[in-house]
């Protein structure tokens, strides 16, 4: 189902939701940088820049309380966090690379044990995606099988039109319900043409062959060559829409405090450091190898998906210029080179 939403009505829609008590999260300027955050009113929304961090924090906050403790003598009282208290949220202006990462993360947070902190927010959040009409040289969504108009992970998906309005694709029941609730703001699609979509320039990876190469190259000179310069700052993981590693830490006093779940990064040396002093990933290239392996092999082995949506944030933010797209392009080249003649052809 497609609808037309004028620019004016788009903003009216958000203000209607806000005044109706719905939490509307969208890119907004925070201390001079665009980040996803709750809007006070629709005009705070900034749609012309990719937020510095991804939309995953709407489901998986940088740091969140998972319980609190109070000690009284020899007794301890624990207070649970009630996931039912998470607010109904509409997440707006989500780029396809960010939106697509959300269902990818369902894999890890819902297999076996269910992480209700993530899953309850998922249930309570409606995602309004936004097609990209511009890309920079770090964007590579098309290289990992997505596109600037990919609706994966979006409940409604907006494509900017030449008249300033949007073509609105209804992609799920949740999206349909939101449109039904505010149907007077939508009309039938008219004659205005969509703006040209962004065109990232990185050639497509053959993800199957990349994974095939990784299957056989845990040990390879590539890792030292690409990652000796990695300073282990972890910034790539913190801006990534798909990195999901976390730490669990207590913050408080002897008497009372909170236990918190905080983003962590496999680039940190301490991430795998044993109490004995032994560290299975004792050198930076081993840690960087894990990053690539996790994204393009392990997550696929486990959940059948690639843990990278090509947003390019890690490329932009890396202080030493490590470019994941360039590395996977190199792997892609080696993978194709070592595919025997008569073997599988590129799909």
């Amino acid at each position: 189902m497609q609808k037309y939403l004028s620019r004016h009505n788009f903003y009216t829609l958000l203000d209607t939701l806000i005044s109706g008590g719905i939490r509307v999260v969208a890119p907004r300027m925070t201390a001079g940088i665009p980040l996803y955050g709750p809007l006070g009113e629709s005009v705070e929304m900034v749609l012309d820049q990719l937020p510095r961090r991804s939309a995953k924090e709407a489901f998986f906050p940088v740091c969140e309380d998972i319980m609190s403790y109070e000690k009284e003598g020899q007794q301890v009282r624990l207070t649970d966090v009630e996931p039912a208290s998470f607010p109904e949220t509409v997440l707006v202006g989500v780029r396809p690379c960010d939106a697509a990462a959300i269902p990818v993360l369902d894999g890890v947070f819902s297999w076996d044990y269910k992480d209700e902190f993530f899953l309850e927010r998922r249930r309570k959040t409606t995602v309004i995606g936004l097609a990209c009409t511009s890309a920079d040289d770090a964007c590579f969504c098309t290289a990992v099988g997505l596109s600037p108009a990919d609706t994966r992970g979006s409940d409604l998906f907006l494509t900017p039109l030449a008249d300033g309005g949007y073509l609105c694709d209804v992609c799920s029941d949740k999206g349909e319900a939101l449109v039904a609730d505010t149907i007077n703001l939508f009309s039938e699609p008219g004659s205005s043409t969509p703006l040209p979509l962004a065109a990232p320039s990185v050639p497509a990876f053959d993800l199957k062959k990349v994974k095939g190469w990784l299957d056989g190259h845990f040990e390879d000179p590539l890792w030292d060559g690409t990652a000796l310069r990695c300073v282990g700052c972890g910034a790539c993981a913190f801006v990534c829409p798909a990195c999901h590693c976390f730490d669990i830490v207590d913050e408080g006093t002897e008497k009372s405090g909170k236990r918190r779940k905080s983003w962590d990064a496999c680039g940190f040396w301490k991430f795998t450091h044993h109490a004995s002093g032994h560290n299975p990933r004792d050198k930076q290239p081993k840690r960087y190898r894990n990053r690539i392996m996790h994204k393009f092999k392990y997550y696929d082995d486990k959940f059948g998906q690639t843990l990278c949506t090509g947003c390019g944030r890690c490329v932009r933010i890396c202080p030493v210029g490590i470019d994941i797209a360039a590395i996977v392009t190199e792997i892609n080249g080696m993978a194709i080179e070592c595919t025997p003649a008569g073997g599988e052809t590129r799909s």
Binding site: Q74, L78, Y113, H244, D264, F271
Partner: protein, 282 residues
């Protein structure tokens, strides 16, 4: 005992410390009883599984459940004080409250060991993950063949479960071979002197109809596996547990993986064949 309901999977159960045993100057056993009466009766686990232990205000640490599933009403953990959480756990006194999440991970396939001879090989602080299985088997003694325990530590002082070593030594249905590294013995030492792999080779337990269970520091495991191979053990007859750093224990937080194997979910118990199939990242 996986709980797959929509509760908070990170919320620990409260337990009371009912007993404290100093195994070595820096290794301590805590006996823990669940404060929830129902859980006290229902908590079940299998030998080899682990838990996340909380010292509230300091955080959580991962240790195996060191007591046997055959001993109900309590669980035990055993740890060396080396960090923030373990230092805090060490400050606990009898009657104090701490937290436990678990049991997590896979376990030793005990039923497959019925009728077989068992050879336990452990070094230092790595006896607890085997001690749960040793007592499990001793409590069901007639289901197993010969039981051999080869255990060593750097020095006499570093041997854990000293009272139980004495008990095993007394038992006619257990063969205990205890050893300390060269230089680690006192004049009154009544065991062997030598490294665990060497002593295991000299003890030469028969491989036929046997299972070897090996737990120790990486260097001990590295040198023990070829000894077992020489004795005729196949890689499917040898089990070990991997002890990677963990936080969640639930297959989410992303740090315990060895290649695509999640130690917290796919392990911690693996056969030597499985371990040899993994990339060298443990």
């Amino acid at each position: 005992m996986c709980d797959h309901t929509n509760r908070n999977i990170y919320l620990p159960h409260l337990v009371t410390v009912t007993d404290i045993i100093d195994e070595t100057p820096d290794v301590r056993t805590l006996r823990l009883v669940f404060q929830d009466e129902q859980l006290r009766g229902n908590f079940s686990f299998r030998a080899g599984q682990f838990a996340e232990y909380s010292a509230f205000g300091a955080g959580e640490s991962t240790f195996c459940i060191a007591s046997s599933p055959t001993r109900s009403g309590y669980i035990e953990c055993c740890f060396r004080s080396v960090g923030r959480v373990t230092e805090e756990l060490r400050r606990l006194e009898v009657g104090d409250t701490m937290g436990v999440r678990g049991p997590y991970g896979n376990s030793f396939p005990l039923e497959q060991f019925y009728g077989k001879n068992l050879v336990f090989v452990a070094g230092g602080i790595a006896l607890p993950p085997l001690r749960t299985l040793i007592w499990n088997c001793l409590d069901l003694r007639d289901r197993f063949g010969d039981i051999t325990i080869v255990y060593g530590a750097r020095t006499e002082a570093d041997l854990v479960y000293k009272r139980e070593l004495a008990e095993w030594q007394e038992r006619a249905d257990v063969r205990l071979v205890k050893t300390v590294d060269p230089g680690g013995s006192s004049p009154s030492w009544d065991g062997q002197v030598g490294f665990v792999p060497t002593v295991l080779g000299e003890a030469a337990p028969a491989a036929e109809n046997s299972i070897a269970l090996v737990c120790g520091p990486p260097v001990m495991i590295k040198f023990t596996l070829p000894v077992l191979e020489n004795l005729g053990f196949s890689d499917d007859q040898v089990y070990t547990t991997l002890e990677n750093r963990m936080k969640c224990g639930l297959g989410k937080c992303g740090r315990c993986n060895v290649g695509n194997v999640y130690v917290c979910k796919d392990g911690p118990v693996f056969t030597a064949r499985q371990v040899k199939g993994m990339p060298m990242e443990f």
